[in-house]
Structure formats: C-alpha cells, structure tokens
C-alpha cells in the first residue's frame, strides 16, 4: 500500500517526503483545488521544484485540480492541467467531468485519479470514470464501510482504490454538499473552501464563547471548554428531539487500526487529510503511519500511532468504516 500525504506549502512538502511519504498530493494557488485557503498551495515554479525534490528521493506527486470549474472560465482549469503535466506530475486528481474529459483527450498518457469530490461510491460509478476517461485510480468517499470498500475494490480492478485513513472527516458525501454556501455563499465545489475563515466570528457572551459562521451560531463553549473551528457540520444545534452534535461530534478520522483490513480489501492508496496543516503535523502523522505501514508489510504488530494530540477535538472515530456509524 502507498502512503499519500498532504502538503499545503513547499516546506510541508519536503517534510512529508523526508518523513517517508510514498506520494505527496498538493495543488496550485487559487480556485482550482479544494483547499483554496489563504497562504496555502503552490505557484507553478514551486510545483516544479517540489516534483523534482520528490522524484530525486523516490516519491511521487499527485496534483489535485479537483474543484468544479466556473462556467465560462474553464481555461483556468485547463491551464492547471497542462502545467501539472508539463511539470511531471505522476498523477492528476480530478473531479469535474469536463476537466477529466479535457485531460484525457489532451494528455492521453497522463495518469488520472478520480477525486473524492467526484463521489464515486459504487462499482458502476467507478466504471463510468474508467470507461469515459481511462482513470487509473479512484479516491473513495468517506461514506463506505470496509466491507463495501473491499467489494468495490474487487469489482473495479485493475482500477485502483484509495481511501482516507487520518484527519478531518466529512460526514456528508463529498462533492455533494452546499451547506457552506447556504450560510456563506462559498462552497467546496465552486470555491474550494468549506466554512471559510472570512465568514467566521467568535463572540464572548458572558462566560460563554460563541462561534458563528455567516449569520448563524454554530457552537457555544462554556468557560474552559476547548473551542473548535465552526465547520458547519461539526456544530451543535437544537432539534425537537435533542440538542448537540446532531451531524457529527468534533472528531477526526483515525483508521490506523484498520490498516490490516484495508490491506486485505486490496486498497492501493492510504490518504492523510490536511493540506491546511503545518509542517509539524505532517511530519508526525506521516512518520507514524509510515512506521505502521512498514510494520504491517513486515508482518509485525502495528503499534498504535498515538496521534491523539494532533486530532481535531482530540478524539477520533473510524467513521463510516464501521457500519454502526450510520
């Protein structure tokens, strides 16, 4: 299995390679990738340097161009595809049908992966992308159980599958969520952002800290309670039946214990979320997962990575990989 690590900056990129990433994924500055945050991502020159750095050390580079192009502005996405191919990207991670079509027609030799944003959640969906665009790998949405991942992987071979094993967790099917744009006007699909920082505000209300997104209160924290970022689906809300984290508790995905099962399932790529995270995070997580993966391949018991302190809300879940999550 291949360990695929995030990099939001050239420094984090080098850290990921040095810490043992088999592959690193990253994107260009601007709206062409789904982590379009201020101060993040790569210029064309930085991407070329990063790819050279990785290739010199035996690591691969996957370039994410995985938002859905604005109507009338496809050129921007086409240029990103052309540039990534010219820079020597080992694969492009794409979501939009038109971008996949452009890449497949213009660069038939280029290896293409289907982004998690494309929501390929069953074998027919994967075959759709394989037959139409010759994709070689699909990143599966975080809505599937391990048994379902195994079944899809068997059904779509030789197309490879890749799954997330650590980091932030979408509870909604990725690429199909407009919660953020309902509250702020900006969405992952159109703008590459979810619950963007420019629309976040914190307000002290007596002893209570209130976090808001757009015009809506997303959470309230008592004195001393750790206050998380107001990602919309991780907020506390009120319903007639219960108040609280009605969509998902403030937890991060940690599937380290499931690595053997994912290996048996035939999964090729293990992906760590977090292009927005700093070098220290990337270094620790990559090193721990690489050690776990090496142990697994050598038939040694996997030592729990012990990454709890790095996770959002400092508690973890195996998410949809366990069927009871539903």
């Amino acid at each position: 299995m291949e360990l695929i690590c995030p990099a939001g900056t050239p420094a984090a990129f080098r850290q990921a390679v040095d810490a043992g990433a088999h592959a690193v994924y990253c994107g260009y500055r601007g709206e062409t990738n789904a982590r379009n945050f201020p101060g993040l991502n790569f210029s064309h020159a930085e991407m070329r340097e990063a790819i050279a750095y990785a290739h010199a050390r035996g690591a691969r580079v996957l370039v994410a161009i995985n938002t859905f192009p604005r109507a009338g502005a496809l050129d921007l996405w086409h240029r990103a595809v052309d540039e990534a191919v010219a820079a020597g990207a080992d694969a492009l991670i794409l979501a939009d049908i038109a971008v996949l079509d452009y890449a497949a027609r213009t660069h038939p030799a280029q290896r293409l992966h289907v982004s998690v944003q494309a929501a390929a959640a069953n074998p027919e969906a994967v075959r759709f992308y394989v037959e139409a665009f010759g994709v070689r790998r699909v990143v599966l949405p975080r809505v599937l159980s391990v048994a379902e991942i195994a079944a899809i992987t068997r059904a779509v071979a030789p197309c490879e599958t890749e799954v997330f094993v650590f980091g932030g967790l979408c509870v909604m099917a990725e690429g199909r969520c407009s919660l953020s744009s309902y509250a702020t006007g900006q969405s992952p699909n159109m703008n590459g952002v979810c619950s963007p920082a420019g629309h976040v505000a914190y307000r002290q209300d007596g002893a209570t800290l209130v976090s808001r997104l757009g015009d809506f209160t997303i959470n309230k924290f008592a004195e001393g309670e750790p206050a998380g970022y107001p990602t919309l689906c991780k907020g506390r809300f009120a319903t007639p039946r219960m108040d609280g984290y009605i969509f998902e508790d403030p937890v991060s995905l940690d599937a380290a214990e499931l690595l053997p099962a994912l290996g048996k399932a035939g999964v090729t790529g293990l992906k760590i979320e977090g292009r927005q995270r700093g070098r220290a995070y990337v270094e620790s997580v990559v090193r721990a997962f690489r050690a776990a993966l090496d142990a697994l391949e050598a038939g040694r018991p996997i030592v729990s990575p012990g990454l709890l302190s790095l996770t959002e809300g400092q508690s973890t879940t195996q998410g949809a990989y366990r069927k009871t999550w539903r």
């Binding site: 929501a119 027919e124 809505v143 599937l144 099917a173 919660l179 006007g185 809506f216 009120a238 539903r326």
Partner: protein, 296 residues
Amino acid sequence: MRLTLGPVLFNWAPEAWRDFHFRIADEAPVDRVIIGEVVCSKRSPFFADHLPEVAERLAAAGKEVVFASLALVTLERERRAIAELAADDAILMEANDVSTLRVLAGRPHLIGPFVNVYNEATAQWLAARGARAICLPPELPGTSIAAIAASGGVPLEVFAFGRVPLAISARCYHARVHGLHKDNCRFVCDQDPDGMGVETLDHEPFLAVNGLQTLSHRCASLIGDIPALRGMGVASLRLSPQHCDMVAVAQVFRDVADGRMEVAAGRAALAGLFPLAPFSNGFLHGRAGVAQVGTA
C-alpha cells in the same frame, strides 16, 4: 417557461403520496412530473405498489413522467433496482448520480440536481451522451446558469421552489437524533413531512433534516426572478414538493410566468400556501443561499 414537479423528497405515507400525485395529474398545470425515491432506498418498498398507477394517471393527464434514481447509491439492492429500471426502454429516467449515468449512456435521459453540472463543457458532454434536459445544482449562481445556457445544446431547469437539498450522507440524522441507527431506524423520518427543523443554539431556524438528507430551513422561491431566468435561457422551473397545496403553488408559478398575476401577488400567495418558512433566492444571485435578494 415550462414547469416540472420534482420528486417528493420526504417520507410521506404511501396513500398520501399516491393521492398527492393523483391530484397533481388531475389539476396541476405542470408539464413534467418526477417520481421515485431519491433520498433513502429503505423507503422505496412502501410506495412501490403505487408507482405504476401513479405513472399511468400522470401520463393519461398528459404529463411527461420521469423516474428519478437515488442520489447516493452504495448497496447491492440499490444498484440492482436502478439497473432494472434502466433496462425498461419505455421508462424515462432522471440520473442523480454518476453510476446511473453509466447505465443510461447513449439513451435519452434527464440529469437531476444531484449530478455536478457546474459548467458548459460538462453540460455539453452529458448532452452528447443522451441527456435531454439538465436540472442544475441549486447552488449555481445566475452567471453560471446564463453561461451554460448560452452554450446551447440542452434545455436547462433550475430549482425554483421548495426547501433546498444541501447535502446527502451515509448516516441517517433522523435516526441519530432519535437515538437509533440507520439499520433499525423505525422510519422515524415519517414524522416530519417537510423535514425536521434544525435550529441554532440561539433557536434561530437554520436547516431541515430528512433522513440521510439535509435541506435548508428556508424555502427557495424564484417567483420574482422568472423574467431574469427567461433572459438567461432557462427552459423550465422545478417545484419541489412540500407538504402544502402544490397544485396551488404550481398555479401561482404558471400565472406569474404567463403574466396573469403580478409578482407581488404571487409572492403573497406562496407565503400563504407555505407559511412554515420564509423564502430565499440567494444562490441565484451569487450570495449565501439563505439570502433573499429583492422584495419581489
């Protein structure tokens, strides 16, 4: 401007679902009606027996009848159900995910609002594979709608009335707030025919939960935007069923579109027909979806 009645997104009692469509067939001035379960396949068996008679009644009334596919397809039985529907050449389907697109490739079909069509190149690609009409994702701004329409090739529909579908998940939030899991959900979503209200901790209405689906609290209404939509080249408006008099809702849209009713009167009429939530049209105007732009 044509009118389409979208699929019922909520878990209504089977007889109520049937009678609702019978009345639509007999009385509603809509050109096309989409039927079938989009949100949760566990609900499908309940009204499956009524599907043929509803389809027949709608067709006899001159409506174009379209069968919707599920938005999130993961289970074997869901895949089988779609394959069986698609195998029947007499049935026109609306694809709501890419796996259904594959099954329908090369045959006439419609594209539902749950397939990501954000630009003209994707719309044209789909049209070349047999898409006869595309209902665009509700979050698309008017600038994008106009650009896609300008490229031609396929009639476009926009989501013009109803709580806006915002997300779909493998997890059932209805079950979760009732302390249940999806597998033993007891179909508690049937208690909320317009979705279950979700408020902020300040008790400001925000969202609505419908099983695996999350919708807006506010009800989309583009009643004041019809001339603009026509100018963009939009061919039809989708009215998404809420638990209210949808025949009357359709008549208001028909009358305003045809110039028989002033926008202000139409807006007041809709507010009376669906008093549960205020209206919004922010997505169309490139703003937050919750926003209401213009008073008309």
